[in-house]
């Protein structure tokens, strides 16, 4: 049982930032165990990604390659990694907590009688793993027990990936044996429901609205506030689920990621799925009636109060300030 392996994920032809964050998390484990951080790239054509990874990996890079590993399927990835684990018996497998990882790693871990410690936000001595409960209202510390590989996935943005160290890791190929009959699902091409016409990413100021607004009819006051601020309107998932605003205005893991100068969150409790999409904003202001709402943990300014009183008052104060 040895070694820390970070499973790198490809994003639009590149290694995504969250994968480098997983490498950083692997580095924290490495410091506790004295081992080096290795990386796994997995797919049908991994040479390019392996070369990119090798520059930032202190240990070695393993290419798990097979024509049936593209496009992604839970069956294909599970079989390939299962074979790798049986051969190498890694002590830790670290993943970015992406939709893809959530789709297959729990099953892969179960094959070994193990459980993924998912969506981890920090790693302490032990190692102990911190993850969030109750939509971010509480945090909990977890430990793995028993023998066997420890499976960990890390939350987007939780670990700092901006290392400047450069390496030249050795790259090797792990040959996996997969039969097409073992792949039970048939994935189609990715598509969007409608053309994206709103680019929240370039907005200087955003007013985002959540469940606290209660009714679609109440959106008018948010529109007035946004107009007074010269801001784009965005929303948390439930608002778009209800069809009150188009999905292209959704901020969060299933929507857009934004980092404006000002993010004003109105009636948004701050579930982690939303926070990952906006916590990089320069200034975050939260208006919420619940002083315990997790949105206040990332806010620079908070107003605890009834949004139906605060929002009109704010719109009025902004209009007065412009005169």
């Amino acid at each position: 049982m040895s070694g820390i392996f970070v499973v790198i994920e490809e994003r639009q032809g590149r290694i995504g930032r969250i994968s480098w964050e997983a490498v950083a998390a692997g580095g924290l484990l490495a410091r506790q165990t004295g081992a080096k951080v290795n990386a796994i790239v997995i797919g049908a054509q991994t040479e390019h990604f392996a070369a990119e990874a090798a520059k930032r990996i202190s240990g070695k890079v393993v290419r798990i390659e097979h024509p049936l590993l593209a496009p992604y399927t839970a069956d294909g990835f599970s079989i390939a990694l299962e074979q790798f684990i049986r051969t190498e018996s890694p002590e830790f497998l670290v993943f970015p907590h992406t939709y893809q990882v959530r789709d297959y790693v729990p099953a892969l871990a179960a094959r070994f009688g193990r459980v993924l410690i998912g969506d981890v936000v920090s790693i302490e001595d032990g190692p102990a793993y911190t993850r969030q409960l109750m939509q971010g209202r509480l945090t909990a510390s977890y430990r793995a027990s028993g023998t066997g590989t420890v499976f960990v996935s890390v939350q987007s943005g939780a670990f700092r990936a901006d290392t400047t160290e450069s390496f030249a890791a050795e790259v090797s190929v792990f040959n996996s044996a997969i039969e097409s009959s073992q792949i039970r699902t048939k994935p189609g091409e990715a598509f969007r429901d409608s053309a994206q016409t709103v680019d929240l990413g370039s907005a200087q100021a955003i007013v985002a609205v959540g469940r606290g607004i209660r009714e679609q009819e109440n959106l008018g006051m948010i529109q007035e506030l946004a107009a007074a601020l010269g801001a784009e309107i965005a929303a948390s998932r439930p608002i778009c689920d209800n069809g009150w605003l188009p999905i292209e205005r959704q901020v969060g893991s299933s929507g857009q990621t934004v980092a404006p100068k000002l993010y004003l969150a109105v009636g948004i409790s701050g579930a982690i799925q939303h926070l990952v999409g906006m916590k990089g904003s320069q200034c975050i202001v939260a208006v919420n009636k619940d002083p315990e709402a997790p949105i206040f943990e990332v806010a620079d300014y908070g107003i605890v109060g009834d949004l139906f009183e605060v929002v009109p008052a704010l719109t009025e104060a902004l209009k007065a300030a412009h005169q």
Binding site: A74, D75, Y99, R102, D103, Y104, P106, A107, A109, A110, R114, V115, L116, G118, L133, M134, L138, T139, A140, S141, Y142, R143, S145, G146, R184, T185, K186, G188, A190, D193, A205, L229, D241, I247, E248, Q250, S254, G255, Q256, T257, L262, S269, C283, V285, A286, F296, E297, V298, A299, D300, Y301, G302, G305, V310, A313, E316, A317, A320, A321, H322
Partner: protein, 256 residues
């Protein structure tokens, strides 16, 4: 089509949560509980499928006695019968432990489809369905917004990140983890609530299923989250706080 829907009862959204003295769970005494949101969508998807292609919808839920109210709600909305896996130590079981309970209870039913919500709003592991699929040796797909039956199985609409989607074809039986928001939720009708009282609700225990609690991942201690930024809470009436905020935005944040 025989569809099993696994649902979980969780503390009501926005309910004030306090850490229990043991620091291993929350104080449950004054809490209100409700059906986990994505599970409600899984149930809705199952009911709509049944209305289209016929068959039976069976709900299954693991948890203590209080879970029965959520099960009755599912029956009132239109599920045909229910299985309650009695379990008083849900927070002490890891995702594999809970999935084992549910998978063993589901196995003798031989369903065509097993649906679960994507993730629970309390512990938030988001793994139950995927592990159940593994334990039952069934294909699966997660983050599913819509399910359609085809000649050879099903086609599902899967959510990808950043506003992208994908269609996936699966043979049945299969396990699907349903994402919130794919459809509109129904309310229970008075007639439904009345009928629910006479529907079958079978109880099984983990002992009946032959499953011991042997976690490989343990929740050691719960605490309040650490603040990521220092938040200035603005005090006063709505008018006061609005005026203060405008000052801050103008002179400190400089966005006005």
């Amino acid at each position: 089509m025989k569809i099993i829907v696994a649902i979980k009862q969780v503390p009501e959204r926005d309910a004030p949560v306090r850490v229990a003295l043991s620091r291993q769970w929350i104080e449950e005494a004054d809490l209100q509980f409700a059906m986990n949101e994505s599970d409600a969508y899984a149930l809705e998807e199952a009911l709509q499928l049944k209305e289209k292609v016929g068959g039976e919808v069976v709900v299954i839920s693991a948890g203590p006695e209080r879970v029965a109210t959520t099960i009755r709600e599912a029956l009132a909305k239109g599920a045909d019968r229910a299985i309650h896996v009695e379990c008083d130590d849900m927070a002490k079981r890891d995702a594999l432990g809970v999935a084992r309970l549910l998978a063993e209870a589901v196995r003798p039913e031989n369903p065509d489809l097993v649906l679960t919500g994507l993730q629970s709003d309390d512990l938030g592991y988001g793994q139950t369905g995927v592990i159940m699929a593994e334990l039952l040796s069934l294909p699966h797909a997660s983050l599913i917004l819509h399910v359609e039956r085809t000649d050879s199985g099903i086609t599902v609409k899967r959510e990808l990140e950043e506003g992208w989607f994908q269609s996936i074809e699966l043979p049945t039986p299969a396990v699907l983890m349903i994402q919130s928001g794919g459809t509109k939720l129904r309310y229970a009708t008075l007639m439904g609530i009345k009928r629910a009282k006479t529907k079958e609700l079978r109880k099984v225990t983990s002992a009946d299923l032959g499953i011991e609690n042997a976690p490989v991942v343990t929740l050691e201690n719960i605490s309040l989250p650490q603040k990521q930024r220092s938040t200035q809470i603005l005090q006063g009436t709505a008018r006061d706080t609005a005026a203060t905020l405008v000052e801050k935005l103008k002179f400190e944040v400089r966005v006005l």
